[in-house]
């Protein structure tokens, strides 16, 4: 059973090298995984005194500990999660990944309680989080059902984060950039029109941080994300401002795919500068055009990287039969 569960988890979460699985109240099992198979038997059984550490079931310990900018970055953007959010995240990713397809029933509460080694209220809390995002619904005498995809709240930043962990496909990236292409140039137009000195100062500050960190020292991605969020906020429209959370998740997710390396391309940096200048000069049309161009070129960067990645993967697959 453990083996089966682990295979499923790998399919959903990707292959970490070291796993920690809760096997009961206060007990954890640590083991290694090689080439998609749980290798060897359990390494050790730990008395689990530390809770609230990352995922309730599985910690990608080795990856986190790998150090470097990427791990540091991942940690910073891991949000202030408690153990229950993570349980929701694990189940959410399993649903999005197709392990529990729309219309199917989630495993019975009792089975999930055993699998995750959590208390009933904790499991219920995770269920409510999934319900709040339109993923599941509880029905009398039937159990907990996965709702049709059209009911999933795609505009929820948590949902997006789970989705990005499961399937950052080319199609998904295209959809995201189409969304950004619809909002961000228009928002840049509105920001230039709004002529708010305070907002301009915040956008300029974010840009200055990007320039200072362009070689990848410090939190370059954070500054980049802030630049785009400040423009959305500068529209003065609360609903558009809320999209910032979504775009932050999308940006963090695509950066994590590692397409850009550590530094930012000089061209892209200059394009950010052009957007800032147009907003400062209060030229709405120019701001809109500059942002549209920046997004088109960034999308092309990501696509190229994904295709390269796919080619590299194909090369490493041994011939079948």
């Amino acid at each position: 059973l453990i083996r089966e569960t682990i295979r499923t988890l790998i399919a959903i979460n990707g292959p970490p090298t070291r796993w920690r699985a809760k096997i009961g109240r206060g007990l954890s099992l640590v083991f290694t995984v090689a080439r998609g198979e749980p290798k060897g038997e359990l390494e050790q059984v730990l008395a689990d005194t530390t809770t609230n550490q990352g995922d309730a079931t599985v910690t990608r310990g080795a990856k986190r500990a790998a150090g470097g900018a990427e791990a540091e970055f991942a940690d910073r953007h891991a949000h202030k999660r408690n153990a229950n959010d993570s349980l929701a995240a694990v189940l959410g990713r399993e649903i999005i990944g197709g392990l529990h397809p729309p219309g199917s029933r989630l495993p019975a509460e009792a089975a999930l309680l055993v699998r995750f080694g959590v208390s009933r209220p904790t499991l219920r809390e995770a269920f409510r989080a999934l319900e709040a995002k339109g993923l599941i619904v509880s029905r009398q005498k039937v159990g907990t059902l996965v709702r049709p995809k059209s009911d999933w709240n795609m505009l929820d930043p948590d949902f997006l984060a789970w989705h990005m962990r499961v399937a950052p496909t080319l199609e998904f990236v295209n959809d995201l950039f189409q969304l950004r292409q619809i909002f961000e140039p228009h928002a840049s137009y509105l920001a230039a029109e709004a002529r708010s000195a305070a907002a301009l100062k915040r956008i300029a500050a974010a840009y200055a941080d990007m320039e200072r960190r362009k070689s990848g020292h410090g939190d370059l991605v954070g500054a980049d994300v802030r630049f785009h969020k400040e423009i959305l906020d500068a529209t003065g429209n609360r609903l558009i401002g809320t999209l910032g959370g979504l775009i932050e998740t999308a940006l963090v997710g695509t950066f994590r795919m590692g397409w850009r390396g550590v530094a930012i391309k000089e061209d892209r940096l200059l394009q950010h500068r052009a957007v800032l200048d147009a907003i400062a000069a209060q030229k709405p049309d120019e701001a809109q055009a500059c942002m549209a161009q920046l997004l088109r070129d960034s999308a092309a960067d990501v696509r190229r990287a994904l295709e390269k990645d796919a080619r590299a993967k194909r090369r490493h697959v041994p011939p079948q039969g």
Partner: protein
């Protein structure tokens, strides 16, 4: 239509306040169902109160026994309702401190339920114009994409919804749904799940528009109906620029309609 919401809010806001009484009037079977869903009703009621400013951002919610007594619910139900609201970014529970309302900027305002609560709580004019500004970004772009793609199935869906709008123009129950389907079919033409997710915004603004403009008796103005027809024609003829412009015009005029109508708060 309300099935699109993950929680079906009760009509009006007074029903839950007598929830304790209501439950006792139900048979055993219904009472069980009621318990299963009551956290949703409770969350909707508290959610509406929060967005209406009864509990302002930063404020502590009343303590648990007080709320349980007010609504006649158990602690378990309250906890589930809080979990739901927390997942929508409205509140945060801190051990030993209590449950606090989060700053407005952290609310998941694009969540279909949170959006509906705003509209039910009697939104200000700013909220309505913000909503239309967002639609103004998404829908003309989607109309242009639909005209570019000219997928036969999509055009059939849009045309079929338009037919129903004409048939129900005098305000039969199907009008709002037909109008919603018209706009959803255009969003659907993009086959981008993020864009179709904005359907909840359209749903909310349509319900609001029909309610404030015609006092609940949904009826569409001849001008607006005609504008929908123009959008359909532009998409059918594969004219992206025209489809974009027609959609922008429709939205602009619809916002004017909403602004002109006498300010009416919740029923």
């Amino acid at each position: 239509v309300t099935k699109r919401f993950s929680i079906a809010p009760l009509q009006g806001r007074s029903r839950l306040e007598t929830a304790g009484g209501l439950r006792s009037e139900l048979g055993d079977e219904d009472a069980l169902t009621f318990d299963r869903h009551i956290h949703g009703y409770l969350a909707a009621t508290l959610g509406r109160e929060i967005v209406a400013g009864v509990h302002p951002p930063g404020a502590l919610l009343p303590n648990a026994p007080e709320i349980c007594q007010r609504f006649g619910v158990s602690r378990t139900v309250l906890r589930e309702a809080y979990n739901l609201l927390a997942a929508k970014g409205l509140i945060v529970a801190r051990p030993k401190v209590g449950t606090r309302v989060r700053p407005k900027a952290e609310w998941r305002i694009l969540d279909p339920d949170v959006l509906a609560w705003h509209l039910q709580a009697g939104p200000g004019e700013t909220f309505i114009s913000d909503l239309f500004e967002l639609r103004q970004m998404v829908e003309p772009a989607a109309a242009a994409l639909a005209a570019e793609g000219r997928v036969p199935g999509t055009i059939t869906r849009i045309a079929e919804a338009f037919d129903r709008m004409e048939r129900f123009r005098e305000g039969q129950a199907g009008l709002i749904e037909a109008d919603l389907d018209f706009h959803m079919a255009i969003l659907g033409a993009t086959s981008n799940p993020f864009l179709t997710a904005f359907g909840s915004l359209i749903h909310a603004s349509l319900q609001f528009a029909f309610r404030i403009s015609w006092g609940g008796a949904a009826r569409i103005q001849d001008d607006r109906l005609h504008q929908h027809g123009l959008i359909l024609a532009a998409i059918r003829e594969g004219a992206p620029t025209r489809a974009r412009r027609r959609m922008a015009e429709l939205l602009r005029d619809s916002l004017d309609d909403a602004r002109r109508s006498p300010p009416k708060t919740t029923r």
